[in-house]
């Protein structure tokens, strides 16, 4: 109270409680429409009440399904180039905030400060189990909020300093308790969940929970957060030269299946610079762009961005395909993102040996080679591309700012350039979806630029990246951080170590050479009798004990 004199009248101190579960439960059942719970060791900013009030009004509008909110939490998917699994809008003895500037949907939040939408929680029958103690109440409150169909959020508006003296040992002991494990086994389908204090493993003991009540934590958190929010529009764009019709048909089929499975209709457009293209293919409109470039792959990207009215663009090349399995959640991820956020997923690469050519395609062997993970996006700033084009959903309005110089000169690596440009131009944190969005076909039939022997065109394109570095707002700072960090491949680290070692060896050799030069000079040689005399004198003094 003494630390917050200006708002002391709004503070109700609860002392002697044996269970924070009970405290939260009572607040929800008996409190006002919105209640704020916090620890006694938090330092709130002087305008805290105004900030929270403003945020609550904004949350009602932007996050209609919000149930509880805090200032630190586990986001529904990793966020930011650093692939953060915990977002912090607070400072404490362990560190500072993570730097994100927007409200983030979460799987769970930290309980140092919790804003409760009691009205919504009551209406949905929110209740907490009858546990005692002061650990894990925040995780449980988050789970029960999600069970009610409401969302869990973390917001910078709730920033504070938490002078935490909490015990990690206490947390570790608490989540391992048999009672809590049983609770988690009953509530969730997961075998492990992430919390602000670290991972919590759930001992499933080989049992598959087929109860209708159990839910998948990250997926439920994502879906709940999107309720009532406007759905941004997405356009899938396939670039093609109409040389591989069988593969193009496969590409279209995958989008059709995705639409069926997700029960939505996402626009799918085919774009090309091929003048003799048909008007329609597999029921989609074919857009022919007039280009003067021999290799128009990048021009197609910019022209599509200028033409499209969709909020997000997803480029999937004609020999690749979308995975329908997670399509619904891709759309949910867009619903909880801002309109200028870069959204990246994974891509699974397949080694294919196709039979047949052109129109009639027989499928041959197909073997998954590797998975490109969205969380590797930051590594792309090291100078090597880690994320395929088709793994990214680009905000259209940011794409429209692609430098014309870049587009006109870069051919290969157009995907790499675009990803770097958008990732470093957008104000918002990148969303990193932890599942495969697309399948990428790699073949040795000579029809792909990625498998060509000569790297000349790749190298030439990379040389044209200058406009990217001049016009992408924060690319310099990001590249600076990456080069100073350990985000390098093992080979890069070895090369760097090799470079350092070579440098030190050459310095040593230089020093030896210098010493030898000095030793050979007459000014040094002439001092030899005096040096011998000094050496003998030192020896005699040592023997005499001086």
């Amino acid at each position: 109270m003494s630390r917050h004199k200006s708002i002391a009248g709004n503070i109700n101190v609860i002392s002697g409680a044996r269970s924070l579960f009970a405290v939260i439960s009572d607040l929800v059942s008996d409190g006002d429409d919105v209640e704020i719970f916090c620890h006694d060791d938090v330092f709130l900013p002087s305008d805290f009440l105004e900030s929270v009030s403003t945020w609550v009004v904004e949350a009602e509008r932007s996050w209609p399904s919000w149930g509880i909110a805090g200032n630190a939490g586990v986001p529904v998917f990793p966020m930011g180039l650093g692939a953060h699994e915990v977002i912090r809008f607070l400072a404490d003895p362990h560190g500072g905030p993570t730097g994100c500037q927007e409200t983030v949907p979460c799987q769970s939040i930290d309980g140092n400060l919790v804003v409760l939408n009691c009205k919504a929680l009551r209406s949905k029958g929110f209740s907490l189990p009858n546990f005692s103690g002061f650990h894990l109440y925040d995780l449980v409150a988050s789970l029960e909020t999600l069970r009610c169909g409401l969302a869990v959020l973390a917001s910078p508006a709730l920033f504070c300093y938490h002078d935490s003296k909490g015990s990690q040992i206490g947390f570790e002991k608490a989540w391992r308790s048999s009672g809590f494990q049983e609770y988690l086994r009953d509530q969730l389908l997961n075998s492990e969940v992430m919390t602000v204090n670290g991972p919590v493993k759930i001992d499933r003991r080989g049992v598959y929970n087929d109860s209708m009540e159990a839910f998948d934590l990250p997926v439920t958190a994502l879906l709940n957060a999107g309720k009532g929010r406007p759905q941004p529009t997405l356009e899938i764009v396939t670039r093609t030269t109409f040389q591989r019709l069988g593969l193009l048909e496969r590409n279209c089929l995958s989008v059709d299946i995705a639409n069926e499975v997700a029960r939505v209709v996402v626009n799918h457009t085919i774009v090309t610079g091929y003048r003799a293209a048909p008007e329609e293919f597999c029921g989609r409109k074919v857009v022919v762009f007039e280009t003067e470039q021999l290799d128009d792959r990048y021009e197609l990207v910019l022209q599509t961005a200028r033409r499209s009215r969709a909020d997000f663009l997803w480029f999937v090349d004609d020999d690749d395909w979308v995975f329908p399995n997670r399509f619904e959640m891709v759309l949910s991820a867009l619903a909880v993102s801002t309109e200028d956020a870069l959204v990246c997923g994974g891509a699974a690469q397949f080694d294919e040996n196709l039979i047949g050519h052109g129109d009639e395609l027989e499928f041959g062997e197909s073997s998954p080679i590797r998975m490109f993970e969205s969380t590797d996006l930051l590594k792309s700033f090291s100078g090597h591309n880690y994320l395929p084009f088709s793994a990214c959903l680009f905000p259209t309005k940011v794409l429209r700012d692609l430098p014309e110089d870049l587009v006109s000169r870069v051919t290969y690596y157009e995907d790499f350039a675009t990803t770097l440009f958008v990732a470093s131009s957008t104000r918002c944190w990148t969303r990193l979806l932890p599942w495969a969005l697309t399948g990428i076909s790699v073949r040795s039939d000579g029809t792909q630029s990625v498998s060509s022997d000569s790297r000349d065109e790749w190298n030439r394109s990379m040389a044209e990246f200058r406009p990217l570095f001049l016009e992408a707002r924060s690319i310099g700072q990001i590249a600076d951080v990456v080069s100073a960090s350990t985000f390098r491949s093992p080979k890069e680290r070895l090369l760097r170590d090799d470079f350092v070692i070579n440098h030190l060896v050459s310095q040593r050799d230089e020093a030896i050479e210098k010493l030898e030069e000095l030793a050979g000079h007459w000014t040094w040689r002439v001092t030899r009798p005096f040096r011998i005399f000094r050496g003998v004198r030192r020896l005699l003094r040592q023997k005499a004990g001086f």
Partner: protein, 324 residues
């Protein structure tokens, strides 16, 4: 050989007298998909007439039938069966149909490629008599198990897209219903080999099957993962008896904690005690075996005399066709 293929293709195209039954077990979520996507793809996969037999286990429906096209009739069977497994449901459909002609089993989340069913039928004919099962290729996650490039023989066939011989299926009484889901396809294949039938793989018969493949979420145990452990025990016990249980215990203990292994055995219907074959002491003795003595101890080929029936590790019943 080429003439034989052409002859057989022609014969198949001309033989419309016997429609090909296709069995699909579906739930409410995939029902629309089956009607909008899967059934139309079946029409393009063969020149033969089709009979699609659908079992929607998520609801009780009246028995109905209608024509989806001039060459395809759809039969919807009524049975509320949330607790019945994959094998049991397909056995039900087989009995309901009442014929022993070759038939197709298909997962509801697939789309069949052009000519796929005709290619399965062709492979069955080219394989000679006694072909029990022909498996189609799944795309993009093709199963990497071995198959002979000349004979197309494979140790076992995955149950997502199969052509089955009806006489064989009736003789062996269909899928073994002790498996709720997973491993019943391995069981059926091994049964075929044991009784002198063949199991083949036809790479030219493809279906789209967008499963998770090897990239499933590690924080979310799947039914396949759980059932896979239990059914591994059941499968080995059925075909190798006590030795099979010993091997299963040895392999599982190498991968999981003792308490979990004990739980899995219980779930599979076997209790761990000193009288039973599996005890911590035995597991310890087994763990001290070298690879050589282990192979001698668990010589499955010696036990069955069927080279196609092999166990190379936990849920590994085949050699790999290619290394990733």
């Amino acid at each position: 050989m080429k003439d034989l293929v052409v002859q057989e293709r022609t014969r198949l195209q001309e033989d419309h007298s016997c429609p090909i039954p296709v069995q699909i077990v579906v739930n409410a979520l995939l029902r629309d998909f089956v009607f909008k996507r899967l059934i139309p793809s079946l029409l393009a996969s063969t020149d033969r007439n089709l009979e699609v037999h659908l079992l929607d286990y998520s609801a009780t429906k009246a028995e109905t039938s209608f024509s989806a096209s001039s060459t395809c009739r759809v039969f919807e069977h009524a049975r509320r069966t949330e607790t019945a497994g994959y094998g049991e449901n397909h056995n039900f459909l087989f009995e309901k149909r009442g014929t022993t002609s070759p038939f197709i089993i298909l997962n509801p989340d697939t789309i069949v490629a052009k000519n796929a069913i005709d290619n399965l039928l062709l492979r069955k004919t080219l394989g000679g008599s006694q072909v029990a099962i022909v498996e189609g290729r799944q795309w993009p996650y093709e199963h990497p198990k071995e198959y002979d490039s000349v004979t197309h023989e494979t140790p076992w066939a995955t149950g997502a897209f199969l052509l089955l011989d009806g006489v064989f299926f009736e003789t062996v009484r269909g899928f073994d219903e002790r498996y709720f889901m997973y491993h019943e396809d391995v069981d059926l294949s091994w049964t075929a080999w044991q009784r002198g039938w063949k199991v083949l793989y036809e790479p030219l018969a493809s279906c789209f099957h967008f499963s998770e493949g090897p990239y499933h979420r590690t924080d979310l145990p799947s039914l396949e993962e759980i059932q896979g452990k239990v059914n591994f025990i059941k499968l080995l016990e059925k075909f190798f008896g006590l030795s099979g249980l010993e091997y299963a215990h040895y392999v599982l203990l190498d991968m999981f904690e003792y308490e979990e292994v004990e739980f899995l055995f219980k779930k599979a219907g076997f209790k761990l005690n000193e009288q039973s074959i599996v005890s911590p002491e035995l597991a310890f003795r087994l763990s001290a075996c070298t690879d050589k003595t282990l192979n001698k101890k668990f010589n499955f080929l010696e036990m069955t005399r069927v080279p196609q029936i092999k166990v190379l590790g936990y849920n590994r019943f085949h050699d790999l066709r290619f290394e990733n």
